[in-house]
């Protein structure tokens, strides 16, 4: 059935820090009508459910709780003149590329001159990690746990194990303690914790929650409620741990359904759409921002980078005003193992961004020498102090200007470590 189409300059899908920052920047960059679509009851995204402090350092220049931080961004976007539609979800794209929306107002179809996808990331749940066993209740992701405790105030268990030892895993420790649940251990398949040394120390010594390294969870058991987990440690040692709560933390994957449905070229490393420093994807007019393209950064880092995507989208709209513009030739940037991903992962010849490039490693690396090359030509090389899995490391982006637009794809690899 054909339905009336609402026309807007920019449609931002997702009202978390990325979408709100991009929308604000779009408005500040001169875009006329900017609509942010948020499927939850309120805008603000993941920080809305993180009730601990530490938000806003890099973008709001103060320290806020998650909900307060989320509210500030929602207020800023609205103050900039963007329109916020909550409890509304983009469910797909029509044949003409218009967005199909469902919300309490019914269904709508929106034609946007520019689309910014800011659909974020989620933690991989137990099933995606193929953890066998029975299917009792008491198995969470951090996201669900936070909403469970702070959003709905639902009862929890008594003894928990946390799978993962990256930043968000420590957030799960705090949430569990607040709910009166004793976290028995953090379990990571990697040889060390991946968070900041201070967090690690505070958790191990201050809260007396140990980190069990080189350990994987090989089974979850219990009939109605979890009663134990089975763990496999170094040297294949197996042990059982009596718990009633299991929290799977981190292992972020992008929520890329709409990006894939739109036919955007995807980056095999990040799992998000391939995009350049301005968030421009393989399809003209489609931009991507936030943890959809770098799973995941802290909210303030997300907002700062997403603001530059919003600004780039606004500039694109201004350039487009006389007529459609073809984006400059883009080269793919890929990484070699043990590197996991790079963002941005498209380079265009008109590169203007001075944002650093984000790199992830799958292994701990000590003084890695990173080499950026294109068709055998070394564009740059950097030595980092170290690389830690599940944490981003920055390299400068000046080599982007040296990329040959007609050349091969660009490759970043580790040429040596100490």
């Amino acid at each position: 059935m054909s339905r009336p189409v609402r026309r807007v300059d920019a449609l931002v899908v997702g009202g978390g820090p990325a979408g709100l920052a991009a929308a604000t920047a779009l408005r500040e960059g001169g875009a006329g009508s900017v609509v942010v679509v948020e499927r939850e009851d309120h805008a603000g995204g993941v920080p809305r459910h993180c009730h601990h402090s530490g938000f806003g350092l890099r973008d709001q220049h103060r320290v806020l709780s998650g909900p307060a931080y989320a509210q500030r961004w929602a207020d800023r976007a609205v103050a900039s003149g963007a329109t916020l539609w909550t409890q509304t979800m983009v469910t797909g794209w029509s044949a003409e590329g218009h967005a199909d929306l469902t919300g309490r107002r019914g269904r709508e179809r929106v034609e946007a001159r520019a689309v910014v996808l800011a659909t974020g990331a989620r933690e991989r749940p137990r099933a995606a990690l193929l953890v066998p066993g029975s299917r009792p209740s008491g198995v969470f992701t951090t996201g669900q746990l936070q909403r469970w405790v702070h959003g709905e105030h639902l009862p929890l268990g008594h003894r928990a194990v946390i799978i993962g030892a990256e930043h968000v895993s420590y957030s799960a420790v705090l949430t569990l303690r607040e709910a009166g649940v004793r976290p028995l251990a953090l379990v990571t398949r990697l040889p060390r914790s991946q968070t900041f040394a201070a967090f690690d120390l505070l958790c191990r010594v201050g809260l007396r929650v140990p980190v069990w390294t080189e350990t994987t969870v090989t089974g979850i058991h219990g009939r109605d409620r979890v009663d134990r987990v089975e763990l496999r440690g170094p040297d294949d040692r197996r042990r059982h741990l009596a718990v009633d709560t299991v929290v799977f933390t981190g292992e972020w994957v992008t929520d890329h359904e709409l990006a894939r449905a739109a036919g955007l070229a995807m980056d095999p490393g990040t799992g998000g759409p391939a995009c350049d420093a301005g968030g421009a994807t393989s399809l003209p007019g489609y931009f991507a921002a936030g943890n959809l393209v770098h799973p995941v950064e802290t909210a303030d880092a997300v907002a700062v980078r997403a603001a530059s995507v919003g600004a780039a989208a606004a500039a694109w709209l201004r350039r487009r005003d006389p007529g459609p513009v073809a984006p400059a030739d883009a080269r793919r940037v890929r990484v070699e193992a043990p590197l996991r991903w790079v963002a941005p992962n498209l380079v265009r010849t008109d590169h203007r961004s001075n944002q650093p490039v984000l790199l992830r490693s799958g292994e701990f690396l000590d003084r890695p020498r990173l080499q950026v090359e294109q068709g055998g030509r070394v564009l740059a090389s950097y030595v980092l102090r170290r690389m830690v899995p599940n944490r981003s490391h920055h390299i400068p982006s000046d080599w982007c200007r040296a990329v040959d637009p007609g050349g091969d794809e660009v490759c970043i690899s580790v040429s040596s470590t100490r």
């Binding site: 979800m89 469902t102 989620r122 933690e123 749940p125 099933a127 996201g143 909403r147 709905e152 359904e257």
Partner: protein
């Protein structure tokens, strides 16, 4: 039949077979009660199968199962059409991966024909890869089975039970049968909630049907639960295949298949492991690894997509090859046991057959005057128009425009409906099977807490 305050028929078990029998009995002037030990219908073996509407092309020719599956396919397809139970007419291709398997394909076609299913035919590999370009390399031949379809298993038991209850059948959930006494003129059933009397007992207790059978004085079979582990892949894998991809079956099992589901996912499985424990629906490291290996071979693109869920179901296998169905008019006892993976397809035919046999062996059946009302089930199929796409429904109630489970696009209106329907959802499992809520790729990351709170506060 009887009028002494007891029931005419007590059906033990509210799986897909038990509810189908109850629905069939509801067409007659009988006082029928259904006793189910769990708190929902269709919550045992019936909920965790491969969700295929079988033709029976690979049944043992001449068996009861062969005939009932064939008739059941037609009956259930018609019923689904009227009730809105999701069905997709995908067809199946049975793929040979080496010369030995290829050599058995003519036998597969011959067996299908012996089962009275004539449309099964061979195709060459060019045609196979044209139909299924995502298939892994190395296939040597295939048989097409056009009428192997996919169906929503969850709505089926609920629909049968809803229809039966609307026609006056009494459904007692959370009621386990502890003992059965055959005394003069009837049966006394001792349950967790007191005892009751019934003239006839129908044993449709699935995995426990042999235990109930022995309590009732039978003992012709023993259930050995055969566990089938399955992996559900993300909806983004759905375009990788268009039909059900079957392996060449062996003596013991139909083997590992890859199939679309009506919910828009792709399933891979099942394993086949004989167990002693009738409750062990756990997945195992080895089982999941075996399936991933098979999946990589059959449909290589599949393993690059995310896994949404894993589960295991238990098939009620016995030492016999055929269904264990018998109707004993003298003792007024019916057993429908040993019904394995084809039970969903055959359910309506099994019910029809049993009630016919009851009439032949002395049960006095008078048809009721009213035509049965087939309930209209919520559209759970991805190929159906879901509430979030339904302007009329949203106009009637804006709660159908409020999506609460994002991955599966389930609306608040649907949750409300599931909690207030004739056989309402009473826990998360029941809600999942009636709406798909929390079944998606995030497994509750976004909506799990809100849905749990929704169930906890008891709000309709």
């Amino acid at each position: 039949m009887s009028g002494d305050g007891g029931y005419d028929v007590a059906v033990i078990g509210a799986g897909v077979v038990g509810t189908a029998i109850a629905r069939q009995l509801a067409r007659y002037r009988l006082r029928t009660v259904v006793l189910e030990r769990s708190n929902d219908v269709g919550s045992g073996t019936s909920k965790a199968n491969t969700a295929i509407l079988h033709t029976g092309f690979d049944c043992g020719p001449g068996t009861l199962e062969s005939g009932l599956v064939r008739r059941g396919h037609r009956l259930l397809a018609e019923y689904a059409d009227v009730s809105g139970i999701a069905v997709e007419r995908t067809g199946a291709v049975l793929v040979a991966w080496d010369r030995e398997q290829e050599g058995r394909l003519d036998g597969v076609v011959a067996k299908a024909h012996a089962n009275g299913y004539l449309p099964a035919h061979r195709i060459d590999t060019d045609e196979l890869y044209r139909r299924e370009p995502g298939l892994g390399p190395g296939a040597t031949g295939a048989v097409v089975v056009p009428d192997e379809w996919i169906i929503c298993p969850w709505s089926t038991s609920v629909a049968f039970a809803t229809e039966a209850v609307a026609a006056g059948v009494e459904l007692r959930l959370g009621t386990e049968v502890h003992g059965v006494v055959d005394d003069a003129g009837g049966w006394t059933l001792i349950t967790t909630h007191g005892s009751l009397r019934a003239e006839w007992v129908v044993n449709a207790a699935g995995l426990h049907s042999d235990i109930v059978d022995r309590q009732c004085g039978g003992g012709g079979f023993t259930i050995t639960p055969r566990r089938g582990q399955l992996i559900v892949f993300d909806k983004l894998a759905r375009p990788l295949l268009s039909s059900i991809l079957l392996p060449v079956p062996t003596e013991r099992t139909k083997g590992v298949l890859v199939a679309p589901t009506v919910y828009g996912n792709v399933i891979l499985g099942p394993t086949a492991e004989d167990l002693d424990d009738r409750t062990d629906t756990a997945t195992t490291e080895g089982g999941l690894a075996e399936l991933m290996e098979a999946g990589r071979h059959i449909l290589p693109g599949l393993v690059d997509e995310e896994v949404t869920a894993t589960y295991a179901g238990l098939r009620a296998a016995t030492e016999h090859r055929d269904y264990q169905i018998s109707v004993d008019g003298d003792r007024r006892y019916v057993v429908a046991g040993g019904i394995r993976s084809t039970g969903l397809t055959a359910s309506l035919a099994i019910a029809e057959y049993i009630v016919e046999q009851m009439a032949h062996t002395g049960a006095v059946l008078h048809e009721v005057d009213e035509e049965p009302t087939i309930p209209r089930m919520p559209p759970l199929g991805e190929a159906q128009r879901r509430p979030y796409q339904d302007d009329e429904l949203m106009a009637s109630d804006p709660e159908f425009g409020r999506i609460v489970c994002f991955c599966e696009r389930v609306t608040e209106g649907e949750v409300q409906r599931a909690c207030t329907s004739a056989i309402p959802a009473v826990d998360l499992g029941g809600l999942r099977r009636r709406t798909r809520a929390t079944n998606g790729r995030c497994q509750g990351f976004f909506c799990g807490a809100a849905i749990a709170a929704r169930l906890a506060d008891g709000r309709p």
